[in-house]
């Protein structure tokens, strides 16, 4: 070999050796930095008035997700080249906003969790919002509906709303009714009741604002206190007015009562829409075939194999079916979180938040992309048809079924 060639070989050799050592050293350092586990904390309502909602839509999803991720070895953190298992920390907020705040602070400051999953309920999510924002944790607010979502999104750059706004539910419902009216299936009278709480007030206001625009008349427009134990005075009033559509923005106990008492009183409007609770598996179990035609918020595309598979796994994992509104959305939010973490490759909350804000994700409800920190490709109206709660509006969404109007008489 010439001197020059020898020098080239030896310098290349030297560089290769140095590079190899460097890679080994760096690789070693990276492997040492890989965390033993990813701590994920969450506060949910296990007791108190929010417990039924949380146990239907939120808690079983969180538990199933953590179980499945760990069964696969954990979340894939490509920065360390390995899967890291999840270690879960769970607290009960007892349906108190105060407790939700403190438990979240405990998770962040004492338990030093890497990720916080959100609580159930609008009040709880808004209560923990400032805390999560202050500490820079991505906040995927799934089980919360607030018309002020755009304002919150501006205030808290780390919050994401997954269940839409009351105005969207109201508008979609009345539009669906308008189509039925134009097709000659129903007249133009609506009787509306709402529970005297945030949900009821928001959605009834949204509906009230658009009924005239769509050519309807409100013949009854009242609210009732939550935990009312007898809905028959209201139902008797409404029945006497003989409206074409009956809309109730109700909570699960009232939804159950309204259905029971409407059956007893023989109240059979052409459209029967009830609020939260229509999508619960307990509602289906109790009412069985007599549910046909009942409408409510939410819906699922049960023709989708991904959804069918999710339902099966949820039933095995939790012992009961998911609800047909928030559950699937909750699961898809977890998928979004997982994919965002795995794309970033390590626990860098700022990067994860950025990824959620801008990326497109593949989930059981289809591709998810945030629009100004809101996910709005939701089912606004669903209806029980043939024993399942299908999505009815928006009617051009994949999996939408045509609504059955008028509703068949109670069986």
């Amino acid at each position: 070999m010439t001197d020059q060639a020898r020098r080239q070989v030896s310098s290349r050799l030297l560089i290769t050796v140095i590079a190899a050592f460097g890679a080994l050293a760096l690789g070693d350092v990276r492997a040492q930095e890989a965390p033993k586990s990813i701590r994920i904390g969450y506060v949910v309502s296990k007791t108190g008035r929010d417990a039924p909602g949380a146990s239907a839509s939120t808690t079983p999803n969180y538990q199933m997700w953590i179980k499945e991720v760990n069964a696969a070895g954990g979340l894939m953190l490509k920065a360390y080249g390995k899967r890291v298992p999840i270690e879960a920390v769970e607290y009960d907020d007892q349906s108190q906003a105060e407790e939700a705040i403190r438990a979240t602070e405990r998770l962040i400051n004492q338990d030093k969790v890497d990720v916080v999953l959100p609580p159930w309920g609008t009040a709880n999510n808004l209560a923990v919002g400032p805390t999560l924002n202050r500490h820079g944790y991505p906040h995927l607010a799934v089980a919360s509906i607030t018309d002020k979502a755009p304002e919150f999104a501006k205030r808290w750059s780390n919050v994401f709303f997954f269940l839409g706004m009351g105005s969207q539910y109201g508008e979609a419902l009345v539009s669906t009714l308008e189509e039925a009216r134009k097709a000659g299936k129903i007249g133009n009278t609506i009787a509306m009741i709402s529970v005297a709480d945030g949900f009821g007030v928001d959605l009834s206001r949204a509906t009230r604002n658009v009924v005239e625009k769509h050519g309807f008349k409100l013949v009854y427009d009242k609210s009732y206190p939550p935990s009312t134990q007898d809905m028959s005075p209201i139902l008797n009033e409404v029945k006497a007015l003989n409206p074409d559509a009956f809309i109730a923005f109700s909570y699960p106990p009232d939804t159950f009562l309204l259905t029971d008492q409407a059956k007893v009183l023989g109240f059979n409007p052409k459209v029967f829409y009830a609020g939260v609770g229509t999508a619960l598996p307990g509602y289906k179990k109790k009412n069985g075939a007599s549910l046909d035609g009942v409408m409510g918020p939410g819906g699922v595309d049960l023709d989708s194999p991904a959804i069918q598979d999710y339902f099966k796994r949820h039933t095995v994992s939790a012992g009961y079916e998911p609800d047909r509104w928030t559950s699937a959305v909750t699961w898809s939010s977890l998928q979004v979180l997982q994919q965002a973490i795995e794309r970033v490759g390590k626990i860098d909350r700022e990067a994860i938040t950025r990824e959620i804000k801008t990326g497109t994700f593949d989930t059981i409800v289809g591709p998810v992309k945030m629009d100004n920190q809101m996910y709005t490709n939701l089912w606004w109206v669903g209806q029980w048809q043939g024993g399942e709660f299908y999505g009815v509006a928006p009617k051009d969404k994949k999996g939408a079924k045509a609504p059955t109007i008028p509703k068949p008489a109670w069986k």
């Binding site: 008035r49 417990a51 005075p233």
Partner: protein
């Protein structure tokens, strides 16, 4: 709205309110113990009925008759085991009221915790006797009618028990004058325990009955406890007739307001009625002046 609808609606709702408060008025009136765990035990009975009906197919009516002795035994035991030490310690004076409030408050958490551990926070509901009954042209659900009839029947039975039996007289003696009852040979402790037990039988029966038509969850115990307290105090603590009348009044007012005024004001109207009654009659509708 048809007047019969209001009448029948008020009666059934009032019957429900009276029913859920009967047990408490007996317990408080005789044993002088404000049982804050009352509502929680009532819900526990509802859960029991649910399990028996859905998992074992047992008719809630049978559960109802089972609930009476079981409820009696449970509350009687609660009195003897948990409340007796307090009675002994305080000598059944005003300190007993304070201590028993505190203790039953703790007890309610315990029972709530057991319900939650067993059933979670979910909403439970099943249907029984959910067919319409036509009364004077007004349709009412059969199960609510049963609850109302039971309330009236139980008031009558209790009244007879308290006025026509020796045991009843002893219990009434304790209710009227716990300090001097021993002078006529009445065992105050035993009578109080029995009264507590009777209250327990009633609350268990109420729990079974309401489970037939009201969706319930573990945290509903507090709501029932509060409603029962309102009815008991409004009617006059310890007075059966007062309890029934107060319950019926509240049921009627609620139905009237829901039908003719605004359903959103029903609870406000009830509380206003309650407050007015107390201001006009400071010891309840039929209550006696304070000992």
């Amino acid at each position: 709205m048809v007047l019969t609808d209001v009448l029948v609606g008020g009666l059934t709702l009032g019957g429900l309110y009276a029913l859920t408060a009967l047990g408490l008025t007996v317990q408080y009136g005789v044993a002088r113990i404000l049982n804050l765990a009352y509502g929680q035990f009532l819900i526990a009975a509802a859960f029991g009925a649910f399990v028996l009906a859905t998992r074992f197919g047992l008719s809630p009516i049978i559960t109802l008759f089972l609930a009476l002795p079981v409820g009696f035994a449970l509350q009687w035991t609660v009195y003897q085991l948990l409340l007796m030490p307090l009675v002994r310690r305080t000598g059944a004076g005003p300190a007993l009221e304070t201590d028993s409030i505190l203790l039953t408050f703790g007890l309610s958490f315990l029972v709530l915790g057991i319900c939650v551990a067993a059933f979670g926070g979910d909403l439970y509901s099943y249907s029984y006797l959910a067919y319409p009954v036509d009364i004077l042209g007004s349709k009412v659900s059969a199960n609510r009618l049963v609850a109302m009839v039971f309330a009236f029947a139980m008031t009558a039975v209790l009244y007879l028990l308290l006025t026509r039996t020796r045991l009843g007289t002893a219990v009434r003696a304790v209710a009227v004058s716990p300090r001097f009852a021993p002078l006529v040979g009445v065992d105050v402790r035993a009578a109080s325990a029995i009264a507590f037990g009777i209250g327990g039988a009633l609350l268990a029966a109420s729990g079974v009955l309401i489970s037939m038509f009201l969706p319930f969850s573990a945290s509903l115990g507090v709501v029932f406890a509060m409603k029962a307290l309102i009815v008991v105090i409004m009617g006059g603590a310890g007075n059966l007739m007062g309890c029934l009348v107060a319950g019926l009044l509240l049921g009627f007012v609620e139905t009237l307001v829901a039908s003719y005024v605004d359903p959103g004001l029903t609870v406000a109207a009830n509380f206003t009625l309650f407050l007015l009654v107390l201001l006009l009659r400071p010891t309840g509708l039929f209550g006696k002046t304070v000992r």
